[in-house]
């Protein structure tokens, strides 16, 4: 695997975009700019080598269907923000930490170990009749990142709340 270098101007530009997107969605990036830019560079490296922004603090398999849960923002971000005030890599932090009232500390891994994960790919196209609530006019889809729910034939291409892609949705009802 060759070392990928990302130009600091490109990191700064992506950092600004992520900062704006976080703020617009009610989230905060880690106020330690140097630490955070290093994570952003990691996300960009992962995007180049895997084709998606896998968490910089987890080992990606390189197979998207197995790494969906750790594509940033990961499926575990909101739970870790609630419990620890930061996501696993500490790119996103709580208001308390963002304002400097609390320091960020390492977050334990919530993702299941490799041997227990298996294939996480979730089929999104099962029929309505397999739903326990078959009387619904539409299936209900849940964004696994932010919890957004919508009732329609298919999940949206992009989550209107947290902007993750369609493949991060699961059938909820």
């Amino acid at each position: 695997m060759t070392l990928i270098e990302i130009k600091s101007d490109d990191v700064a530009a992506t950092y600004r975009i992520l900062q704006k997107e976080a703020k617009d969605g009610g989230y905060q990036l880690n106020p330690d700019a140097e630490f955070t830019k290093n994570l952003v560079a990691g996300l960009m490296k992962n995007e180049q080598r895997y084709g998606y922004r896998a968490c910089p603090c987890r080992l990606a398999s390189g197979r998207k269907e197995q790494d969906l849960d750790i594509i940033c923002p990961c499926d575990y971000r909101d739970s870790d923000l609630n419990d620890f005030g930061a996501c696993y890599c500490a790119l996103y932090v709580s208001d308390e930490i963002a304002s400097g009232r609390n320091a960020v500390a390492p977050v334990p891994e919530r993702r299941r170990p490799r041997a227990e994960r298996g294939n996480q790919a979730i089929k999104q196209t099962f029929s309505l009749s397999s739903s326990p609530v078959s009387a619904l006019a539409f299936p209900v889809w849940r964004c696994k990142v932010c919890g957004y729910l919508c009732a329609r034939d298919q999940p949206p291409g992009i989550c209107p709340i947290c902007k993750v892609t369609k493949d991060r949705f699961e059938r909820f009802m």
Binding site: M1, L3, F35, N38, L39, A41, G42, L43, K45, N46, P56, C57, R58, L59, A60, C89, A90, P106, P108, E109, R111, P113, R114, A115
Partner: protein, 92 residues
């Protein structure tokens, strides 16, 4: 890219498994340098194929969650994550 060596005070064999993109791994490496202990490190994400599998088997032997960073001391004990106090204590 394989195992890199950092010279310093010998406190037994210290092997740091890290990811090249991870902020906590970077901090752990910097802390070990600051303490001045002799250690080896490897960026597991830069390994390929069986080399990476073997490194992961080693990581999971000490740390079943397979998370990074982890450093193994004398092939017996390990510290998972950037636990500054614990790491300083270990190499006093």
């Amino acid at each position: 890219m394989g195992i890199e060596h950092v010279s310093g005070k010998n406190k037994g064999t210290v092997m740091l498994y890290a990811l090249s993109t991870c902020g906590w791994c970077k901090r752990t490496k910097e802390l070990l340098r600051e303490i001045g202990v002799e250690f080896d490190y490897v960026y597991v994400d830069l390994l390929e194929g069986t080399e990476q599998d073997m490194a992961m088997d080693n990581v999971e032997r000490f740390n079943p969650s397979g998370s990074f960073p982890i450093h193994v001391i004398n092939d017996k004990k390990c510290i998972v994550g950037f636990k500054e106090k614990e790491i300083r204590e270990e190499f006093r």
